[in-house]
Amino acid sequence: MQQQINREPALASKPRNRLANSQHLAPYLFVLPFIISFLLFFAYPLINAIIMSFQSVLPGEVTFVGLDNYRELWNTDFADALYNSSRYTLFTLLLLIPIPLLLAVMLNSKKMPFSNFFRSTLFIPALTSVVVAGVVFRMIFGELDGALMNSFLHLFGISSQRWLYSSELSMFALLVLASWRWIGINILYFLSALQNIPSDLYEAADIDGAGTRTKFMKITVPLLKPITVYVLTISIYGGYAMFTESYMLWAGKPSPQNIGLTIVGYIYQQGFQYFNLGFGSAIGVTLLGITLAVSMLQLILTGMFKKEE
């Protein structure tokens, strides 16, 4: 007490220091970096994106064109991009949630030998950049007879395919690439959640004579719901934001008949290759609408609104 009283005059003589000491001001100073970054690099560009989507933006010449950009979206390129992105997202959800979940349950099982070793091994592809992964998979799905996928097909007497020239085959290539990079990460998500499930739940189920499948369906799956919703969310986000994978597979060139065009790829093409900034922004705003709609739908379907948190 005595000390504090002694310190008072010293503080009063340095008003600036006192301000920095203030418990009321301090929290705002701590969060200031976020506020600045949010306003400058998020809110301002986001508002700008909406404004630009109603403009025709040419160098030194900006004119409002109303809904023209949105009307222009009604074209086959955008339809292709939307179709590809949606299909890719849907397939990645179907592949990259159930399979990693099952693998995680297996890795978590007491019967699993060398669990940690396999966990690390399956994770290694996630360390590579999409650029490097794209380089490798572009060559694996090469059209030459000697390329890996084709020589694999030869084992079954199937002739060589031109993987990156058909919509179905190239979607397959993209999905193989996605699975390769993401299985390990999603396994980790599920594993970390599995390890938080109290083991007495399973012991109680054992006493009740529940089988492996019952335990999986009645205990594991329901308790993994929060992490599953999280993985679902980031997968939808990642699916609709996919760009680099297809950019690398087609070596930065337009894919034949747009088979690899994604929504972000379309933004990139219009904005940075054709300098069509207004139209590019309209694509961006549409993507915003899509992601918001999908997240809302997902939140409603998974019942996250019902829970008060």
């Binding site: 949010f38 590579t128 490798v136 030459l144 390329a147």
Partner: protein, 285 residues
């Protein structure tokens, strides 16, 4: 009973072992193929495509030599490497500093607007940055940050996921330490840097790995910001080798192997942190 179960190597264990061994081989196969290709001349690739033929007669370190001696465009390779290192180090350090400050502020203090700011953090986390790509590019141009290191770092330095994670971590920090610090005459920032930062060490470990990996592998934004070859980062430089004509496969493949190497080595030493870093968003969310 548990120990007995663990020691017994049952049929199920064998089945799991075989399944996961196959899976592991499949997962490592592409990287093995890449490594093999890096030892072969480009002509081999053009004739047969990427394959796993072991042919010691044609295998050599020539591709790596071409990078080190810097023939043609490959001459920029180590410039890109150092650009990537500089950007990754700066980005990670600044990101750690700011996101821990913000997360700590949100987790430790009760103040007006706290919930609003936290909601904004969550919104930034949920909206893909790709949506604001074009206006962000225009902004970067008007700030004269195009083709600069800062142009890459500044817009994404204060990242929502690390803030979220640090906030969760800060919620569990002992509040008594703050009062103790105040009684000892520490400023609020003094309390943060001297008392709380050391307590948050595990959080810093996880976020370091997460942000360093993101920065090292980042592609789309640097592709937009960087213009001249000498400013490229590693992924952008490598992508510039991928031309439809494939003129520079030697450098591309050897370069790709060398680009994975640092992350792979770090991973082998700090596996635990990688796993923590990657599951940062999921576990507590």
């Amino acid at each position: 009973m548990e120990t007995v179960q663990r020691k017994k190597f049952t049929a199920a264990s064998w089945l799991l072992l075989v399944l996961f061994a196959i899976l592991a081989v499949l997962m490592l196969f592409p990287l093995y193929a890449l490594f093999l290709a890096s030892l072969k001349p480009a002509s081999e690739l053009f004739r047969y495509g990427l394959n796993v033929r072991l042919d010691f007669d044609v295998m050599s370190l020539d591709n790596y030599r071409s990078i080190f001696t810097g023939k043609g465009e490959a001459g920029h390779y180590f410039e890109w490497y150092s650009n990537s290192v500089i950007i990754t180090v700066l980005f990670t350090l600044l990101s750690l500093l700011f996101s821990s400050m913000v997360g700590y502020g949100l987790g430790m203090y009760r103040f007006k607007g706290r919930n609003l700011i936290f909601t904004l953090v969550l919104i930034v986390m949920m909206i893909p940055v790709e949506i604001i790509l074009l206006p962000l590019y225009k902004l970067t141009v008007s700030l004269k940050l195009i083709n600069t290191v800062w142009g890459i770092i500044l817009p994404f330095m204060v990242a929502p996921l690390p803030i979220f994670f640090f906030r969760q971590f800060a919620l569990g920090l002992p509040k008594d330490f703050m009062d103790a610090g105040r009684i000892d005459g520490c400023t609020e920032f003094g309390i943060f840097f001297r008392i709380m930062v050391p307590l948050m060490a595990p959080a810093y470990g996880a976020i370091t790995i997460l942000q360093a990996m993101n920065s090292w592998n980042n592609f789309l934004w640097p592709l937009i910001v960087l213009r001249t070859t000498d400013k490229f980062t590693l992924p952008i430089g490598l992508a510039s080798f991928v031309t439809p004509l494939g003129s520079n496969y030697e450098a591309l493949i050897a370069g790709a192997v060398l680009a994975i190497l640092p992350i792979l080595i770090l991973f082998l030493f700090f596996q635990r942190y990688f796993i923590e870093g990657l599951t940062v968003g999921g576990v507590k969310g």
